[in-house]
């Protein structure tokens, strides 16, 4: 479905992503994890056309999409969400989602109908006529998901859709993502690449996980293998988990 190779991006003298490669097979849920500032969002931006890579190639459904503008990549079937949600605040949930639906539906009525179906699918059925700016954080995250889904993508890039949600909300959204990937209501399944901080969710959902640290892919594999990977543990625990643990428990050495 998606194959990125050798992606590199520097800002000024700072290398945000260096020689990153990853593969997302059709029908899979693939996770992309890594500590804060590892370059995950930059990598996403290169995949979805928001940033031009300095080097490397992105091949999507057999087509080289490197450097195409975002809207064209979206038209080819790759949709993304943003970590910092960016709703069309002055418009209702239905209108927000309809913008995505219009990609494949010219008519206003069809787009609105499709928007309604998608919104229900992600659990926004009761808030269709609310203004987007009046949604809770959890609601806005669902809205991001719904808008991207409404474009009828083959591949969905999810940038921390679970961040900022409480455990209850997280357990509600996980099955939604699973259902999107599996396909429902006669719709084909959608391949998913997700950046996620909530480890439990990644382990639960993804069949394959890439780990990005300091701009490089340092490991990839099945979730179970990743959690026992030494480089990964160091990348993570060096960054703050250890700090938190030490503060919480006195002096625990790992």
């Amino acid at each position: 479905m998606l194959e990125a190779s050798g992606l590199t991006k520097t800002f000024g003298g700072l290398t945000a992503v260096e020689n990153a490669s990853l593969r997302v097979p059709p029908g899979a849920i693939v996770g992309l994890i890594g500590p804060n500032g590892a370059g995950k969002t930059t990598l996403f931006a290169m995949l979805s056309g928001f940033l031009k890579p300095d080097a490397g190639r992105v091949v999507f459904r057999g087509r080289d999409v490197t450097g195409l503008p975002p809207h064209e990549i979206c038209r080819l079937g790759m949709a993304r969400t943003f970590q910092i949600v960016q709703p069309f605040g002055a418009q209702t949930v239905r209108e927000n989602v309809a913008v995505g639906a219009h990609l494949r539906h010219r008519g206003r009525a069809e787009a609105l109908a499709r928007a309604e179906r998608v919104a229900r699918q992600v659990g926004l059925g009761d808030e269709l006529d609310k203004l987007a700016m009046n949604l809770t954080i959890a609601g806005r995250k669902r809205l991001e998901l719904a808008r991207a889904l409404a474009t009828g993508p083959a591949l969905l890039l999810l940038d921390e859709v679970l961040a900022g949600l409480n455990p209850q909300e997280i357990t509600e959204v996980i099955p939604v993502i699973r259902a999107i990937a599996a396909g429902q209501d006669g719709a084909a399944g959608v391949t998913v690449l997700m950046i996620e901080h909530v480890m439990q969710a990644v382990m639960n959902l993804a069949e394959r996980v890439y780990v990005l640290a300091n701009g490089r892919i340092i490991a990839d594999g099945a979730p179970a293998d990743i959690t026992s990977n030494r480089a990964v543990i160091e990348a993570y625990l060096g960054q703050g988990t250890a700090e938190r643990l030490r503060r919480a428990q006195g002096a625990v050495r790992i």
């Binding site: 809207h71 064209e72 960016q86 913008v99 219009h102």
Partner: protein
């Protein structure tokens, strides 16, 4: 559909006015209000629906006006033939300015300033070349016959401007109910999100400025036919630009009825200050300036915002 019906009712009601009102003064007030509404509708497409605030809409107005005048006076064209050319030139001017400023990512205040600078450039050009009558301006010879888009009675002009305004209404309605309109408003609210949803941000903005330019050029064309005269200051000065943005800001940006409502309220205000203060120069416009500051400060959604606020409150109680 209800809104289309409302537009039709409005058009019929205005069309019936000359049957009941014969006072030239009153008809002129109606005509000038519609004219201000037309300029407002033009600005509203780009500014209200598209979120791109232009401070130089006079560049389209002036281009329409000069095209109309130059083609008639210097080339001997019939006004009805000159009109499509004037509209096309207004659109072309929109394409030129839009292509340059949107390609290079000008937004917000920068876009406002660049449109203003374009208007100034054309004002100076019009002031310089004999072709446009230079500083003296151009006079369109009187020939009160419909065959030359001039009318012996104000009713003719009323129908002409009403036709343009109804076209503006239909475009606004279409923006509210079409895919293109949804894309344009998405771009207004968040360009990045819109691009992520497959919206060609540049193309959408470009189309908006072209449509806006055509409608604004219609305003300029009407001005020339109605008042038979144009000069660089009227055509490309700040006045037309301000008149265009004032009505939608007062009435409600991004709404179908906002520009007309705003134009009507501003005219009422203008008449009131004139009655109170006499015909002193400046006092009218000073009042408009005060209204502009007050509206942006206290009612950023315009007068239409009052109606919508009620609607939204109703919506949220049963949600």
């Amino acid at each position: 559909m209800r809104e289309l019906a409302a537009i039709a009712v409005f058009a019929l009601a205005v069309a019936a006015v000359p049957a009941f009102v014969t006072s030239g003064y009153a008809l002129n007030v109606v005509i000038m209000t519609l004219y201000a509404a037309l300029l407002g509708q033009a600005w509203n497409i780009l500014g209200g629906f598209g979120g791109q605030f232009s401070f130089g809409h006079a560049v389209f107005f002036g281009t329409g006006a000069y095209a109309m005048a130059v083609l008639q006076v210097k080339f001997g064209w019939n006004a009805w033939a000159a009109l499509p050319a004037a509209l096309a030139l207004g659109g072309a001017m929109g394409a030129l300015i839009g292509a340059l400023s949107f390609r290079y990512g000008l937004r917000g205040s920068y876009f406002a300033l660049v449109t203003l600078a374009f208007a100034e450039v054309f004002r100076i050009l019009a002031n310089t070349f004999d072709f446009t009558g230079a500083g003296v301006g151009l006079m369109v010879p009187l020939a009160a016959t419909a065959a030359r888009m001039q009318f012996a009675s104000p009713a003719g002009y009323l129908y002409l401007i009403l036709g343009f305004v109804v076209a503006g209404f239909v475009v606004s309605w279409w923006l509210k109910h079409s895919r293109y309109g949804a894309w344009l408003q998405a771009v207004r609210d968040n360009e990045e999100s819109a691009a992520a949803l497959g919206v060609d941000v540049f193309g959408v903005k470009l189309r908006a400025i072209v449509i806006s330019g055509v409608l604004m050029a219609a305003g300029g064309a009407f001005y020339v036919q109605y008042l038979h005269y144009i000069d660089p200051h009227i055509a490309y000065g700040l006045g037309a630009s301000v008149e265009a943005l004032l009505a939608p800001i007062v009435g409600g940006m991004g709404t179908v009825w906002g520009p007309l409502l705003g134009a009507a309220l501003l005219h009422a205000l203008g008449e009131t200050t004139r009655n109170l203060m006499g015909d002193a120069p400046g006092i009218n416009l000073a009042a408009y300036g005060v209204v502009l500051v007050l509206m942006v400060s206290f009612m950023p959604r315009g007068v239409m915002g009052l109606f919508q606020a009620r609607g939204a409150a109703r919506g949220s109680t049963h949600a």
